[in-house]
């Protein structure tokens, strides 16, 4: 292989031969080879000929400009449209300060804090993230992240089975759970020989009688969501919690940090585990990329999956932070670890913490209250349209709600998309609409479009 002297060749040769991110000059390569005692770089590869790859990938190298231009062109093919989409992935405005601080290379290009003395900055930021989740949930232990809410739910199920004194194998989840989330849960549950079943909802909230009929001593975890996938605030959490408690099952609540800033503290309503997508703060719409929030009550501490940052002190008595209780983790406990998770979403947690710090208690509280107001106002406006009734569920809503349409929802969704508005199809005659500060200004236009489609 011929490395090219960067200043002696034209652009195309350089692109074809060497990586712009490998700094060695040809002279240095020679010096290094002589120090090693090798004649060529090829000689350093101990790969049998039979498995040597001598072909090409046919991937053409490009300049930075070309890559950016080509990707901009590709992504430009995402059709224009105003999203009124939610159902577990939300677009809140992320202040510029979040980008500028989190993109500092000291944060972005570091790794897991295996050497705490030289990574105090990230450790403190993660410790503060954990602390914010503790404040929001009222539970004393929060880890520094799972991948997303779906995998957090899977981990919660495994934890629930581990902490039980008697064996059990059933997990109960609401029938309105996103099917994708349910599928991830089933994949986690399968390896531990757990099974999942859904319980029905009644007018958008848990059907307590049905849940009561379903639950027995074999249930290890009951999961509920507030707000639900359909945007309804769940009003029966204390009753769900006591049903679970009566059967020695863990009660896991799914929510998010914005909703938690407003709704009754999970610890107060009896949640043993809280999961959720914390990236509703910190990331704008990102095709489903998330940040799994994971908090538990004290008794579950030693069974928590993932990284935990703890405070300690240095040899000279100063406060310092470090990864702790690592004997739970895969790099020490191998197949007996609480989880296989290693790389997690730490940088997203940093962004979420910066976003929460920037909002402060009052900014976050205002944002949460707005989610109630905008949803109810938008529902009322759509309810005024002939052929629409909203909200379908006679509940309080957060960010989003379901509306009944006289025409088939598939047609309504498609005709709204033609007019530049994207909403969910939530049932045969149901559409779902999500409103945050990023699209609230366009609710008027959405209502006008719905009117066109339905009247």
């Amino acid at each position: 292989m011929q490395r090219i002297q960067h200043d002696e060749t034209d652009q195309s040769d350089e692109l074809n031969e060497s990586s712009p991110f490998a700094p060695q000059t040809p002279q240095e390569v020679d010096t290094m080879l002589s120090a090693i005692g090798a004649d060529s770089v090829e000689e350093l590869f101990d790969v049998p000929e039979a498995v040597t790859f001598d072909g090409d990938f046919d991937i053409e190298a490009k300049s930075e400009f070309e890559v950016r231009r080509d990707i901009e062109n590709l992504l430009g093919q995402n059709a224009d449209g105003t999203e009124f989409l939610g159902r577990g992935h939300y677009d809140h405005y992320v202040p510029s300060v979040v980008d500028y601080l989190s993109l500092r290379s000291e944060f972005l290009t570091s790794y897991t804090q295996y050497q705490p003395e030289t990574t105090q900055g990230f450790l403190q930021a993660l410790f503060e993230f954990q602390s914010m989740i503790v404040e929001l949930t009222g539970l004393p232990v929060a880890n520094c992240s799972m991948y997303d809410v779906a995998t957090a739910l899977g981990e919660a199920a495994l934890l629930s089975a581990r902490v039980r004194e008697t064996s059990g194998s059933r997990i109960l989840v609401p029938e309105t759970i996103r099917s994708e989330r349910h599928s991830v849960l089933e994949n986690y549950a399968d390896g531990a020989e757990l099974t999942t079943e859904t319980y029905p909802l009644d007018e958008g909230n848990t059907d307590l009688d049905a849940l009561s009929d379903l639950i027995d001593e074999d249930v290890v975890m009951v999961y509920a969501e507030s707000p639900t996938t359909r945007g309804a605030i769940e009003e029966r959490l204390p009753e769900v919690a006591s049903l679970a408690d009566d059967h020695d099952a863990a009660f896991c609540l799914g929510s998010d940090p914005v909703a938690l800033a407003l709704l009754k503290e999970p610890a107060t309503v009896g949640a043993d585990i809280v999961i959720g997508d914390a990236s509703v703060l910190g990331l704008s719409a990102s095709h489903g990329m998330g940040l799994g929030l994971f908090a538990v009550k004290q008794a579950y501490l030693r069974q928590v999956p993932g990284r935990l940052v703890g405070a300690s002190e240095t040899a000279n008595g100063r406060r310092a932070y470090t990864l702790t209780l690592q004997t739970r983790e895969q790099h020490i406990r191998k197949e007996r670890a609480t989880s296989n998770i290693c790389t997690n979403q730490a940088w997203v947690a940093l962004r979420t913490a910066i976003h929460i710090a920037t909002l402060g208690a009052s900014g976050l509280a205002d944002l949460a209250e707005d989610c109630v107001t905008t949803a109810s106002e938008a529902a009322a406006r759509l309810d005024d349209v002939n052929g629409v009734s909203a909200p379908v569920d006679d509940r309080h809503h957060f960010r989003e709600f379901v509306a009944r349409t006289e025409r088939p929802a598939a047609d309504v969704v498609s005709e709204l998309a033609d007019r530049g508005f994207l909403v969910h199809e939530a049932g045969d005659f149901e559409i779902q609409v999500c409103v945050t500060e990023t699209n609230n200004d366009e609710v008027d236009d959405l209502v006008a479009a719905v009117r066109e489609v339905l009247e």
């Binding site: 712009p20 995402n78 570091s110 990329m289 300690s312 100063r318 790389t343 730490a346 929460i356």
Partner: protein, 481 residues
């Protein structure tokens, strides 16, 4: 090297000196919701959180960043982590507004995103020698778990799941391999290394059988050694009816020179945050796509991306899909950066990457005066700290202005210092790193026990952190309210 990390130590109101105080030790606010249109029983009584003004936020996090060592400070040779330079332009690509879309958009409204995903599937399949690739797993360990679910679905489809209950993992493998196998419901069979640090073929022959679901292998292995018997290993596993799984943590060594698919692997994961330079972000997010051979494509997670007859792209559910391993489509922004990086490098850049990574590791080793018992290694080597505790050695290295290697693993080398410089270190930086090894090796055990002295924090008491867990600011002793 004369090195000193920034600190911001000052006395708090309680008289206790601390580095940058916690956000909660600055201004906090407590709010209640008096005007919201909800019944009282649904609303929390109050919420207390830090309430800094934006300039205070900026100052706080800038100071924290300066107490954090990163790739751009200097050498960060954590073995098996591939801490390479993260090109800046990929961040701008990830910040493009057109990429910021909701995952539930209909396919026809997400053609750009689908085109990128499909393009990356193709790139990775080509690089790994695989039939196709799913991008859904959000990290390497998630890729392992996904791969084992695919293996399990395959055995189920042959009515063999009941008997194939074991996954074989070499003792030197990453801890995630064991944990992922257990999570997928398998019993783990550990295979010791032979004297030259590789998989012992005879022991493998004895270990495999009707109960074998898969063998998980890293190649080059964690010692940096290529498993020269890989074709025989593949035959042994396949003859027993098992599948061969490739842990892609060390793929940086082989880019463009050998492909797991050509070696006989059936399933592999890629750590894009290692091999393809998406930033590690202090512990994530990464992405752990998995590639599979043709026979396994129908088991891949739902949804997969394909090109339709009219040239558009679409999501579809593979016929015997295992279902989902992420709530949506994985870590999109990370995947986008990966696509940008591979597009930038092309064939030549990818091949040069492995060449320079292997050259750098071999050159660094030639300049390090410690015992390196196993070779010939590729992109990483494992040196022994000898009589010195490797963890102590690492603390000594911190004072030389570099990040130390991975320590005490793999266990086959006493007091292991697992070192991976990557292609991104210049010769000058490699010399700095070599000098750090040499300087540290000269230090007395007393000097090491007092190290580090140049970092934001002196040696931290990890044992008491675990004995007396303080996991939020509510728990912190001397917490300044």
């Amino acid at each position: 090297m004369n090195y000193r990390q920034a600190t911001w130590e000052r006395e708090t109101d309680s008289g206790e000196p601390v580095n940058e105080p916690l956000l909660s030790e600055k201004r906090t606010g407590t709010v209640s919701h008096d005007d919201v249109d909800l019944p009282d029983e649904l609303v929390r009584e109050e919420l207390t959180l830090p309430e800094p003004a934006e300039p205070e936020v900026a100052s706080h996090y800038t100071r924290l960043s300066q107490m954090n060592y990163s790739v751009e400070h200097g050498p960060y040779p954590l073995g098996s982590c591939t801490m390479k330079y993260n090109p800046k332009f990929t961040e701008d690509v990830a910040g493009l507004d057109d990429g910021a879309i909701h995952p539930d958009r209909p396919d026809e409204y997400a053609q750009g995103t689908l085109a990128v995903l499909h393009g990356l599937q193709e790139y990775l399949a080509e690089i790994g020698g695989m039939e196709t690739v799913t991008l859904q797993p959000p990290a390497g360990a998630a890729g392992e778990f996904t791969g084992l679910l695919v293996a399990r679905a395959y055995h189920r489809s042959n009515d063999e799941d009941e008997k194939r209950r074991e996954v074989i993992v070499p003792a030197s493998a990453h801890g995630t391999n064991f944990a992922s196998a257990a999570m997928a419901g398998y019993d783990v069979v550990e295979l010791p290394s032979n004297d030259d640090g590789r998989v012992p073929l005879e022991a493998l022959e004895e270990a495999v059988g009707d109960s074998t679901a898969a063998l998980m292998l890293t190649n080059p292995n964690t010692l940096g050694l290529f498993e020269r018997n890989i074709a025989d290993i593949a035959d042994v596993v396949h003859d027993a009816g098992g599948l061969l799984y490739y842990d892609g943590a060390n793929l940086n060594a082989l880019l463009g020179r050998a492909r797991p698919g050509d070696m006989g692997f059936d399933i592999m994961h890629y750590n894009v945050h290692k091999t393809f330079a998406s930033p590690h972000g202090g512990g994530g997010p990464g992405a752990g796509p998995i590639g599979v051979v043709e026979e396994l494509t129908e088991f891949l997670p739902d949804p997969h991306v394909r090109e339709a007859e009219d040239g558009s792209f679409e999501f579809y559910e593979p016929e015997e899909s295992i279902g989902k391993v992420h709530g949506f489509h994985g870590n999109w922004l990370v995947l986008l950066k990966t696509y940008a990086y591979i597009s930038r490098l092309g064939d030549g850049g990818l091949k040069d990457t492995s060449a320079m990574a292997v050259l750098n590791a071999n050159y660094l080793a030639s300049q390090v005066d410690l015992d390196i018992p196993y070779g010939p290694f590729h992109h990483e080597f494992v040196a022994s700290a000898g009589d010195v505790d490797a963890a102590e050695f690492a603390k000594g290295m911190l004072d030389e202005g570099v990040h130390p290697p991975t320590t005490k693993w793999p266990e086959i080398v006493d007091e292991a210092l697992m070192t991976e410089p990557t292609e991104a270190l210049s010769k000058e930086q490699l010399d700095v790193l070599a000098a750090a090894f040499t300087e540290t090796d000269r230090k007395t055990s007393e000097e090491l026990s007092e190290a580090p002295t140049t970092t934001a924090a002196a040696r931290i008491d990890q044992a008491s952190a675990a004995r007396n867990p303080q996991l939020s600011w509510r728990d912190v002793e001397g917490h300044d309210e």
